[in-house]
Amino acid sequence: MAEASPAIEGWFTTGAEPALVGSRCTSCDSTFFPPLRPGTAGFCRNPRCEGEEFTAVELSRRGRVWSYTDAQYQPPPPYIPAVDPYAPFALAAVELPEGIVVLGQVAQGYGVADLAVGREVELVVEVLHTDESGERTIWRWKPVAELGEETDQ
């Protein structure tokens, strides 16, 4: 079996401390996610900036929940269900210190009961689904244990 690979190229790193990759405009310093596709022309979305050059930057790994929900019904294609029968999963929109809100699924094992607006979460990389090329990974948001919630093991 081939090694796990990102479901989309260039959007996140996969090391021990994975992070989303944004594009920062070299003219006005605005940072955007998703990053520009390599090889395509990019235009800064700031209407007062004509920047066309960007550098790849890793975004903060932690942020706070802007809002959250779950998918109790199986989404239609092009979503590829990970397991059969379908298993619901949670989704969170997370506000990063960079001032961007980024959507993501919530880490395996966590649901809406584990979330609240303002709660701190951390980026992890997990398997999204398996296709002909093997396991495909995606970024997910994992609730950070709050002070006093640490398990006393």
Binding site: A7, I8, S30, T31, F32, F33, P34, R37, T40, R45, N46, P47, W66, S67, Y68, T69, D70, A71, Q72, Y73, P75, P76, P77, P78, Y79, I80, F89, L91, A93, E98, G99, I100, V101, V102, L103, G104, Q105, V112, A116, V117, G118, L128, I138
Partner: protein
């Protein structure tokens, strides 16, 4: 009244439902109803504007021409508009612009759709640069999931409850009971809403609007033509706002995976949805205090509450209070969605913004049988769609 008013000479609809027939059939039905309402012959129409439908092949892409051909080529100018959920309003705006420029006198605007069952999904094919495709592929992020994010924010920020959301459905179901064009005409109890399956927490199946077949049409004319035609005091279009967002757009919108970045001091003055209503009020020279009736886009029950605040009909976090107080029920201070809204119609994308205009026209004429808002003189509509589209139309009498 202002120099850029135009007259709504006629309105018409094909009932919403799941009829399984061609969108052309619905569109022609609505168009003929609107022309009959106006007392204007099709052969006297000099501009036809169609709302594009993206799920019905080439005929849907050139909807204006498709309707014109189905009605019989009459030599009219033609245009087709697409602006997601705001399609109908943009089509109306195109018609209005040509009339105000003196280039057209009588315009027929038509939107019609035949929709599939279930979640709206992107067209087939792999498109790795299309956010609408990527949000499904990478996240399984459906439209109701976005609605649920907004609903959860209301709960956490303002103390809204699922019972409040259910109360919106109960109200709208009652409003739509006697609307002959509504698809669902049945009372619903709060218990039924809360007992229906959760689709995207905290929203239940009955909090979320269905997708429907349907069609709506509006005949617009210059005020001078209306006068000559014997329409002494027609309902007028006072404003059509179709503004785009302003950078940085800091509220997560469908189908995006993220917002624009907001730096310190770069906080926008208005959110996108607030700017839509604001632009409409400015154009009409009216304010929220002038509004007698509103038709807003209740894709979910909770979104109706958001829209009331986005249109400045009440302060942030106060919509639940108005709802609980009965203010937004017909007979209350400011009825919202007297037609029954999307709760009773389901969404037929290119027709929906026009359906809102049809309802407000009937309300302002005092002809909304079984759901009339007494003495309504000013009505406002609002909706938002994918990719920076949204609209608000103000009608006055």
């Amino acid at each position: 009244m202002s120099a850029h008013d135009v007259a709504v000479a006629g309105v018409g609809m094909h009932p919403w439902g799941k009829w399984g027939r061609s969108f052309v059939e619905y569109g022609v039905h609505a168009a003929r109803a609107a022309l009959a309402d106006a007392g204007i012959a099709w052969t006297d129409v000099d501009l036809v504007v169609g709302g594009e439908t993206v799920r019905n092949g080439y005929g849907g892409y050139v909807a204006g021409a498709t309707f014109a051909q189905a009605l019989g080529w009459n030599g009219a100018r033609v245009a087709t508009s697409y602006a997601a959920c705001a399609t109908g309003a943009q089509a109306l705006d195109t018609a209005r612009a040509r009339i105000l420029a003196g280039l057209s006198e009588v315009a027929l605007v038509v939107g019609a759709d035949t929709t599939p069952k279930g979640f709206l999904a992107p067209n087939a094919g792999e498109r790795w640069d299309d956010p609408d495709w990527l949000r499904f592929r990478l996240l399984g992020m459906t439209n109701p999931a976005y609605f649920a994010l907004y609903a959860r924010r209301r709960m956490d920020l303002y103390g809204a409850t699922p019972a409040d959301f259910a109360a919106v459905k109960v109200k709208n179901a009652r409003h739509g009971l006697h609307n002959p064009n509504a698809r669902y005409r049945k009372e619903v109890t709060a218990q039924e809403v809360l007992a229906s399956a959760v689709v995207a927490d905290p929203l239940h199946l009955l909090d979320i609007c269905a997708t429907s077949d349907g069609a709506a049409a509006v005949v617009l004319t210059s005020l001078e033509f209306a006068r000559k035609h014997g329409l002494a005091e027609p309902v007028r279009i006072a404003a059509i706002a179709t503004v785009t967002p302003t950078f940085p757009n800091t509220v997560l919108d469908m189908p995006n995976l993220s917002t624009d970045p907001v730096g310190p001091g770069a906080e926008p003055v208005r959110t996108f949805k607030e700017s839509i209503g604001h632009a409409a009020y400015e154009e009409a020279g009216l304010g929220p205090e002038d509004v007698d009736v509103a038709e807003v886009y209740d894709l979910s029950t909770a979104l109706e509450l958001d829209w009331m605040e986005d249109l400045s009909l009440c302060k942030r976090g106060e919509a639940e209070h108005l709802l609980r107080n009965g203010d937004t029920t017909i007979g209350g201070r400011l009825p919202v969605n007297p037609s029954g809204g999307l709760a009773c119609f389901g969404e037929a994308v290119p027709a929906q913004a026009l359906a809102q205009v049809c309802e407000l026209t009937w309300q302002l004429r005092g002809r909304a049988e079984g759901r009339q808002v007494d003495g309504a003189r000013v009505g406002i509509s609002a909706n938002q769609g994918l990719f920076g589209h949204g609209s608000s139309v103000i009608l006055s009498r």
